[in-house]
């Protein structure tokens, strides 16, 4: 079997921003909307990087380069569908309705960033690689048991495919026919480890064969390809035709996190080459070339994005600190006797203005 032939890369807009496939499922307006989103998200991501460098936020995991996959996936969902992603998936969450300042709040170390708005059907971002994939299977399975037409989508990286939980999740979902969409963002590196050292196979998509489910490979930097493919996939899965594995081939433009230096492990020429296909420039080029948006509109989008991000920074920085004692409040539904004692002790320390524990992150 030649996996590159069995799982051909689905592309609609090529790296030069030329249409090479069918875009009948997506209007000009929607494309323009996507560009607007990409602009806001990119602006936010870059601002976050700078804020970290200025010491105003802590470790931050940038998603630049992966906007097409994350937005394309999120846009294909209904509000009642579940999304279970990782630390890098804030772009998808924001598209679904999480306010822009949440990722900043998260990197500032605020507990509140774990409570996503109730209207957003999503779990808190997951730090443990691949753990959320199983949660998606359970959520999908619950939906099926309850007769809801809901799917659960899990986003995860190429590195995550090496974990046992990835395998157990796909196997279980296939056996239970749980309406799950597994979306691997193959950005080709897991921190410093390139995909060739992560797996001996040429594609992630071919792992679907192991579970006898559908596998697809899509250009993850091509919003048209991702969105239209996901629309079809979600429909199929919602209709009860079993789980699907989607490999979105993408590239993280920046570092793994603000604590990482990719020049230590990514050859410069390879980096230069892979940057070329990045989703924002690609979409903009296409829209400009076809007169769908004008230079002025692009400039205006950038202005608007800056303003939105300014506001997000303001909101994050103005966010009220959690009282230290609140650390006890969500361990169990009710405080245990031990926690009650300990909470009282901490409250005493806090109210006595004890010098030791005072510094906030």
């Amino acid at each position: 079997m030649n996996p590159l032939e069995e799982f051909p890369l689905i592309q609609v807009l090529n790296e030069e921003g030329q249409l090479v496939g069918d875009r009948s499922q997506i209007s000009d307006d929607q494309l323009t909307e996507f560009l607007r989103w990409f602009t806001v998200l990119r602006t936010l991501d870059q601002r976050a990087w700078n804020l970290q460098r200025q010491g105003r936020i802590g470790t931050y995991p940038p998603f630049s380069g992966q906007e097409a996959t994350q937005v394309g996936v999120a846009a294909a969902l209904s509000p009642e569908d579940w999304l279970c992603g990782s630390y890098r998936d804030w772009a998808a969450l924001i598209y679904r309705g999480v306010p822009l300042f949440y990722p900043l709040l998260s990197s500032m170390g605020h507990p509140a960033a774990g409570y996503l708005p109730d209207a957003v059907q999503a779990l808190p971002v997951q730090v443990v690689i691949a753990a959320q994939i199983l949660h998606a299977v359970g959520l999908a399975w619950a939906a099926k048991l309850q007769g809801q037409a809901r799917v659960a989508v899990s986003l995860f990286g190429d590195g995550a495919t090496s974990q046992g939980d990835f395998h157990e999740a796909l196997n279980l979902a296939s056996v239970m026919s749980a309406p799950t969409v597994f979306v691997c963002q193959n950005n080709r590196w897991a921190i410093s480890v390139p995909i060739e050292r992560q797996m001996h196979s040429q594609t992630v998509a071919q792992r679907a064969v192991a579970y006898n489910i559908e596998g697809l490979r899509v250009d993850g930097n091509d919003i048209l390809a991702v969105y239209q493919t996901m629309k079809r996939v979600v429909e199929r899965v919602r209709a009860g035709q079993g789980p699907v594995l989607v490999e979105a081939v993408t590239y993280r433009l920046g570092a793994h996190t603000t604590a990482d230096d990719p020049t230590r492990y990514r050859p410069r020429d390879l980096d230069e080459r892979l940057r070329q296909g990045e989703p924002l420039a690609r979409l903009r080029r296409y829209l400009l070339a076809h007169g769908i948006v004008s230079d002025e509109e692009v400039a205006q989008m950038e202005e608007e994005a800056k303003a939105l991000v300014d506001e997000a920074v303001r909101q994050a920085e103005a966010f009220p600190p959690s009282p230290p004692e609140s650390v006890f409040d969500h361990v169990y539904g009710e405080l245990t006797p031990q926690l009650r004692e300990q909470r009282a002790e901490m409250a005493r320390r806090v109210s006595s203005g004890e010098p030791g524990g005072g510094r906030r992150g």
């Binding site: 579940w82 409570y115 399975w141 939980d165 279980l172 169990y332």
Partner: protein, 328 residues
């Protein structure tokens, strides 16, 4: 009038599951061999036939998938009761237990919570093959966000299991294998709950407190009998909920008797007895007439069956410890 029946612990567990499935349509049972086979100990006997394969589900052989998907099921509105076939195999699901199920409420600051029960047989005394008899309760009692409970009687088994299923947080429900069929007790047929977080004073006494749980409760009781015939009055406390501990009941008893012996099967070092002893000497220091003493498994892996009787705490060892603290 309450209908009661004389049941073994395994029957009481089976009845609790049956009742929960009948009462609450969100309840489901999942695990390895829990379906047509009825569980390797028959805990789920008859449930597949009664409630069908959607609610009593044989999963693939993958503990992380069992617990991890059960977390998702719970978040999605179900009330999963997952089975780990033997506690020793829960290591495969350790991240899902400790970092996922137990912390989702915390990480989501209360938006989500995980009403999940994980049942697992544990402990020695029944000559299982390797790795089947481990007592790992101490590991789980150290994990915030999780509750850990273990019954020592059929009555408590049913009542605590129903309370666990109703609990809004993840509960590890440990079933002492050697007590599954060790005796019968009158158990009401209706729904009743034995509240989590409450130890049970099995018998009162004045000279020494014997603290035990799960499979060691009958051993402590037998030791108390034997001590009684030597004129020593031992109080026996069944901890029942291992996390969070009911330190109040334990402290009261030890404050009264001034002496305590803690009995558990798990290895001594870092076992739950350490926490109980540490807490009691903090809380009852001035009442103590002797060091709080532990009778436990030794600091080796659980041995092969040929040696397990020598390894497990028994009446002799408990009595010797009681005499040690009495003559300290």
């Amino acid at each position: 009038m309450d209908v009661v029946a004389s049941l073994t612990m395994i029957q009481a567990i089976n009845q609790a599951l049956d009742l929960a499935l009948a009462t609450d349509e969100r309840v489901m049972v999942l695990g390895e061999d829990v379906g047509p086979n009825g569980g390797v100990f028959r805990a789920t006997e008859g449930l597949y036939e009664k409630y069908g394969g959607q609610r009593v589900v044989d999963t693939p052989l993958a503990e992380s998938a069992i617990v991890g998907s059960a977390v998702g099921l719970a978040l999605g509105g179900m009330r999963p009761v997952a089975e780990i076939q033997f506690l020793g195999f829960i290591f495969e699901a350790m991240d899902q237990m400790s970092t996922q199920a137990s912390r989702l409420r915390f990480r989501s600051q209360g938006r989500h919570h995980v009403p999940l029960v994980v049942r697992a047989p544990y402990g020695g005394g029944v000559r299982t093959p390797e790795i089947h008899s481990d007592s790992l309760e101490a590991l789980f009692s150290h994990l915030p966000g999780l509750k850990v409970v273990t019954p020592s009687t059929p009555y408590d088994a049913k009542g605590m299991l129903l309370a666990s299923i109703r609990d809004p947080d993840p509960v590890l429900f440990l079933e002492p294998m050697r007590l599954y069929r060790a005796g019968r007790q009158e158990v009401p047929e209706a729904w009743y709950e034995v509240p989590l977080g409450e130890a049970r004073v099995v018998r009162t006494g004045d000279d020494v407190t014997l603290i035990a749980y799960g499979p060691m409760v009958p051993v402590a009781e037998a030791a108390a009998d034997s001590l009684a015939s030597a004129g020593i009055s031992a109080e026996v406390v069944d901890v029942r909920t291992l996390s969070p501990l009911d330190l109040e009941t334990l402290t009261q008893s030890v404050t009264k008797t001034g002496r305590a012996v803690i009995v558990h099967e798990a290895q001594r070092t870092g076992g739950l007895g350490a926490e109980i002893a540490a807490s009691l000497q903090e809380r009852a220091f001035l009442s103590l007439e002797a060091p709080i003493t532990r009778v436990t498994g030794y600091d080796t892996p659980f041995p092969m069956p040929a040696l397990e009787d020598w390894w497990l705490p028994d009446v002799e060892r408990v009595k010797a410890a009681a005499e040690f603290v009495l003559h300290y």
